[in-house]
Symmetry: C2
Subunit: 343 residues, 2 copies
Amino acid sequence: MAGVTIRDVAKAAGVSTATVSYVLNNSRQVSEATRRRVIEAAQRLGYRANITARNLQASETRLLGYTWRPTPPDQFNPILDQFLNAIAQAAARHEYHILTFPTTSIEEENAIYREMVLTGQVDGFVLSNTNLDDPRVRTLLDIGFPFVAFGRSNPEWDFPWVDVDGTYGVLVATHHLLERGHRRIGCLAWPEASLTGQYRLEGYREAMTDAGLTVAPEWVRRTETAYEDAYRAACGLLSLPASRRPSAIVALSDLMAIGAMNAAADLGIEVGRELAIVGFDDAPVARFLRPPLSSLAQPISEVGERLATMLIDLVNGRRPAQAQVLLKPSLVVRASSAFRYTD
Amino acid sequence: MAGVTIRDVAKAAGVSTATVSYVLNNSRQVSEATRRRVIEAAQRLGYRANITARNLQASETRLLGYTWRPTPPDQFNPILDQFLNAIAQAAARHEYHILTFPTTSIEEENAIYREMVLTGQVDGFVLSNTNLDDPRVRTLLDIGFPFVAFGRSNPEWDFPWVDVDGTYGVLVATHHLLERGHRRIGCLAWPEASLTGQYRLEGYREAMTDAGLTVAPEWVRRTETAYEDAYRAACGLLSLPASRRPSAIVALSDLMAIGAMNAAADLGIEVGRELAIVGFDDAPVARFLRPPLSSLAQPISEVGERLATMLIDLVNGRRPAQAQVLLKPSLVVRASSAFRYTD
DNA sequence: CACCATGACTTAAACGTTTAAACGAACTAT
DNA sequence: ATAGTTCGTTTAAACGTTTAAGTCATGGTG
């Protein structure tokens, strides 16, 4: 397409292609006169180095792969936009770009990884939504290919990751509820298999223990992340006899929190007066709900930025300054939980 | 990284690299015996052709660029996930991948386009959120680089696009409201400069005219897309004297619809009984609102798929079968507008 | 004056493919 | 028997860079 090559510039400036390269990359001393001639010629012809050729010669691609599994239509992904944006911006600063490819299953993802590594399509990967013993992490560790992960996996595995401290977040949220006078606090949690779910739930338990409260088993409802499941689970919580029915619910995601809000409404319980709810993620829509939903905001942009720079370090054979980073989410208190509760 | 090249395979099979290439690409007759030897060797060594080298030689990248402007934190992008997914899946079927890069302004986007074209980083572009006289469309038309757009621009410009028929969508939505007994219908519209806004508004006007109703100027409120603006505009609509106050509102986006829902709630007007509201986009959250919000669902996956295949056709010098495609959105009726209204 | 170092540039190989052109052997048709 | 085809394969150029190694003045040093 572009068509103007380094040879054209060399000819126009009356020098060899090597000299042109040296001038343009500042990689060797060149006399001022020649330098000017080359630059002038390059500019006049509108020369821009062909990236593919450069990459071939450097045997790199300056591409970072990011896979994500598309969100089912009945759920939402509150962070894709921001996350993709953050990693792409950070990568661009180092002249890297993001290659995105959605996949449908972990197995497919794994296969695609191998393929991309073998064909040299990317220099590294960004994983997200990692889980305990994540096979993708295992694969990449085994073949020794550069990658970073948003999320932890097996604590025994040494690999670079950034994660948001779910334990801390839920601990803070639960403290907040305790501080507003709640004593019976329920939790909409995920199945045991979810590592992220484990961390978050731990925060809830810790806070309750700190406050000298015992967690009734019936207060912790494990459920899939889908809206309907959360709705049903919340109905269960709210149908407990008055003395054991929670006056506050911590939901491990905003979608689940919405399920809880609607369950409460359908049972005639007023959220923001009789019942407090806190979510996790601070989805954009949280502010617009009625009442506005308190939630834990994840520092997604920082996660993305750190991951990108870590990965670029790795790709270039440098050890990243910090290979494991745990960032704190921040609680955004809104009307769904701002009120003071008294029994 | 991968390390095993076509030369290694050639040596292992005792043939020239050309033969290996011919076998592996099926591009020339090769004797069965040699074919088997080559395939066996390739397999044994785990050979996969290096993509960069192949691309250089073919002077292509098999990469399609997609830029989007990140959504401001107080808004949401209900379609990025699905759209990216659709184009990436469709592209993958033809062994193309998507290079994403977020930008902050149209000007920056334009500059990046030029740069990417000149450096040969992508074979084509997917634009979205095009507007009247969109400078990006102009640039790409001028330099003659392959691209497709989600959205129309200047009707005089001949370029390939796919769009969702906003006029039709809002027409259907308005008909639906008329059919439920509404006579005073308001519209939360966008500033005149928005082409998409123009099309959608037209649907509203047409439906009203069809029904023999005149649109009171005060019923059409032009506003920015932000929540607060829509909220205020809706307050304006709902504060009209009873005889002129709309009993139904068509909002040109779900975010604006939410603004209207909350405005109504704050004014003590019950949505779903006294006031009907319809949005546009069918954001995932629409189902979970109270009442659930009626909305126009865009066939995003189809848009993405069509765009990707059109672009790949273009990149390969084929004219796409259909260069301009207008798809119909479908109205999803939920409780916010399902009731029958009587004055 | 011989020698070496330095500076400014060029030559040519390399990165890993694909593919046009050349080549030789085995057939086929005259 | 000879020329022309066909088949299967190899040779080598090409894609557009970067860069190690080489060349050749020039100038400084002992």
